[in-house]
């Protein structure tokens, strides 16, 4: 789960990490008042769950309350398109009004769980302000990586070593180390999967400030963080992905795909997408209905798949195990009727109750083509899309 910048800022502040003065505005009037309160100048920052806001015009320096109101007016209610959003962009429903900061140096700082080392790692770099992926590619030697003990966490001396390696001014070694320790504590205590401060700035008057921050929370740990769970903003997700989440489905919409995929199991779902691509067609989505799905869930999954206007055919690939094939078949029939979709369907069914499932689909009035196995499935879909023949 992603937090908005203003939410992340508050969480940081709660751990004693210095952040810029700022407040949230949902109307131009609030933006004007907030800028007034900051002395007449501010930065107006669109609150969306995506990076690359600056280049996309989502971050605007303004020199007057009127200009702030104008910027807010221009942003709120629109969709911001950045290189990290879908082509339709992410909706801006609020802006953060932050003080302008006189920056001397921009640094980078983050904490994440390193799957290879199996422990949280602090990453830092003197190349702040740019994407860490680019730094990693262009000047990997500039990245400082310090692994914390999986149990003890980050020791203070490690935080100090990072501050020293960042070459901050001597007077800032201690506050920077304290900031790093606090950030690590925040990461662990809130079950984050990523905390990123970019840039971490040294101001001209020698203070260290977390200017912009990004925080992702482990969805699986939200059960023990009810307060964080409340910060979710589903409006930032694709509408179909929202529906899928509500239904307990794992669904990822892909761009420019024509083959809707409905599969049980993540690995098999990826395999299905891959063979679709191999056959010269493009998968329209990843979808794992999960093991415990009931008819209604399958129906909703089908409905979501065919709601994507790019989809020309649906490939159903079920390997019955915990999920029985007859349940899946009934769900598909229900979903097709519910959605009113007349799209062609290609079905592969194996495993538990496969025969019953196939029989249900055969007897339905849907436009179904059957494939015997995985190798046959994709070419069949390609043929169905190309020729239309059932």
């Amino acid at each position: 789960m992603k937090l908005h910048e203003y939410q992340a800022r508050e969480l940081l502040a709660g751990y004693g990490i210095p952040v810029p003065e700022a407040s949230l505005a949902t109307t131009p009037e609030e933006a004007r008042a907030a800028t007034e309160a900051l002395g007449g100048r501010s930065v107006v920052k669109a609150q969306v769950h995506a990076g690359g806001r600056g280049k996309a015009g989502g971050v605007r320096l303004v020199d007057s309350p009127a200009a702030a109101a104008e910027a807010a007016e221009a942003l709120i209610g629109t969709n911001l398109v950045t290189h990290q959003t879908s082509p339709s962009g992410a909706p801006v429903s609020s802006v953060m009004i932050a003080e302008q900061t006189a920056i001397a140096t921009e640094l980078y700082l983050s904490v994440l769980v390193d799957a290879q080392l199996r422990t949280p790692v602090v990453m830092a770099s003197q190349a702040g302000g740019m994407e860490i992926e680019r730094v990693a590619e262009e000047t990997p030697e500039k990245i400082i990586r310090v692994a914390a003990d999986p149990v003890f966490g980050l020791w203070p001396y490690q935080a100090r070593d990072i501050a020293l390696a960042l070459d901050v001014p001597p007077a800032l070694v201690r506050p920077t180390a304290a900031l790093i320790s606090s950030l690590f504590k925040l990461f662990v205590e809130n079950d984050c999967t990523l905390v990123e401060i970019n840039p971490l700035v040294i101001t001209e008057d020698e203070r260290v400030i977390a200017l912009d921050s990004k925080i992702d929370i482990d969805d699986d740990a939200l059960f023990r963080h009810p307060d964080l769970a409340k910060l979710a903003d589903p409006s930032q997700d694709d509408e179909l992905e929202q529906r899928a989440r509500n239904a307990g489905l794992s669904y990822v919409k892909l761009d420019d795909g024509s083959v809707g995929c409905m599969v049980n199991g993540a690995g098999l779902a990826m395999a299905t997408m891959d063979i679709t691509l191999r056959a010269g067609t493009n998968p329209a989505n990843f979808l794992d209905v999960g093991g415990g799905a009931q008819e209604e869930t399958i129906a909703e999954a089908f409905d979501i798949i065919v709601s994507d206007p790019d989809v020309k055919a649906v490939l159903v690939n079920i390997f019955g195990g915990i999920l029985r094939c007859d349940i899946a078949a009934r769900g598909v029939v229900m979903g097709a009727h519910q959605s009113g979709s007349g799209l062609p369907i290609v079905v592969v069914m194996r495993g538990t109750n496969a025969e019953e499932g196939l029989e249900i689909l055969r007897k339905s009035n849907l436009n179904v083509t059957f494939a015997d196995d995985l190798s046959e499935a994709a070419p069949t879909v390609a043929r169905v899309i190309a020729g239309g023949a059932a």
């Binding site: 769980v113 290879q116 149990v151 079950d191 993540a266 098999l268 195990g321 194996r350 495993g351």
Partner: protein, 290 residues
């Protein structure tokens, strides 16, 4: 036995809720020797009128000598259940539970390493040795056949797909091991490859990888340096866009090494036989073994 489980397996099932009971029952039906259940509110009862249920793992092991623990405890309590089994000295712990928080696994993994226990999972289908009727997990038993091919996989249903392709071609399995789809888990590809390499009943191995992480690259290194037996490998997720999580928490492309292409290249380089698509696993293995 082939690897890890077999006719000597004495199964303990922890977490006998709806799902746990269903699968415990299926394991028994397949022939697994379930000797104990653990459930806080059902101590003293008998599961299916046959298997005693205890209130703690320690007590269950003391009474029944269980040597494999299968965990269905819901995610919030899964880490604790694993630790309870470790502290009770369980040799092999299989955690089916999906959705265990990453930081729980950071700590659990550190705790398990150096203990006498081996952990499989979490978020895995378990493992099965068809030739000895030992099914410790949630896979459909009927698609398996006894034989000489070892299978190790990060995924569930894709494993069934691969097993199905093998069985249809008359290629039975020694043991099929699902290591699970989470980024941090107990047993890795390398751990299982090592076991298969040492197992006289395994002649060849199928390795089913995914995008995300670098465990497949570690497997490639092991295959190049230490495997004498042929390995057929496939990596799914070539069509997945970077940065998006594909169901499994571990299946997310975060850098070049997480890409399917990078993993395939490493495995090919290491001498593994690459099944060009997930539909070609059985055929590729048939070619290797003919």
């Amino acid at each position: 036995m082939s690897v890890l489980v077999g006719r000597d397996t004495r199964l303990l099932v922890q977490g006998l809720g709806r799902e746990g009971s269903y699968h415990a029952s299926a394991c028994r039906a397949y022939g697994s020797n379930m000797v104990a259940g653990v459930h806080p509110n059902r101590a003293g009862a008998k599961f299916e009128d046959a298997v005693p249920v205890f209130e703690s793992v320690k007590e269950a092991i003391a009474e029944t000598d269980a040597n494999v623990g299968l965990i269905f405890v819901p995610a919030p309590g899964a880490a604790d259940a694993i630790i309870e089994q470790v502290d009770a000295g369980m040799p092999l712990i299989v955690c089916i539970t999906e959705g265990v928080p990453v930081q729980d696994m950071v700590r659990v993994r550190a705790y398990v390493v150096g203990s006498g226990s081996r952990l499989l999972g979490p978020n895995c289908p378990g493992l099965i040795t068809p030739g000895e009727n030992a099914k410790i997990g949630i896979m459909p038993g009927s698609i398996h056949a006894a034989g000489k091919v070892g299978v190790v996989s990060r995924s569930g249903t894709l494993t069934y797909e691969a097993v199905d392709q093998l069985t249809r071609r008359g290629l039975g399995q020694s043991t099929v091991v699902g290591i699970g789809g989470d980024p941090i888990n107990g047993t890795t590809f390398v751990d299982v490859l090592e076991l298969f390499e040492a197992d006289p009943e395994t002649e060849a191995v199928v390795l089913l990888g995914e995008i995300g992480g670098t465990r497949e690259q570690e497997a490639a290194e092991f295959i190049a340096d230490r495997m004498s037996k042929p390995v057929v490998a496939t990596i799914v997720g070539q069509s997945a866009p970077p940065g998006r999580r594909m169901g499994h928490a571990g299946a997310i492309v975060t850098g070049p090494s997480a890409l399917a292409s990078n993993k395939i290249a490493a495995l090919r380089e290491a001498g593994a036989h690459i099944a060009e698509t997930p539909a070609d696993i059985g055929e590729t293995m048939a070619g290797v073994l003919k």
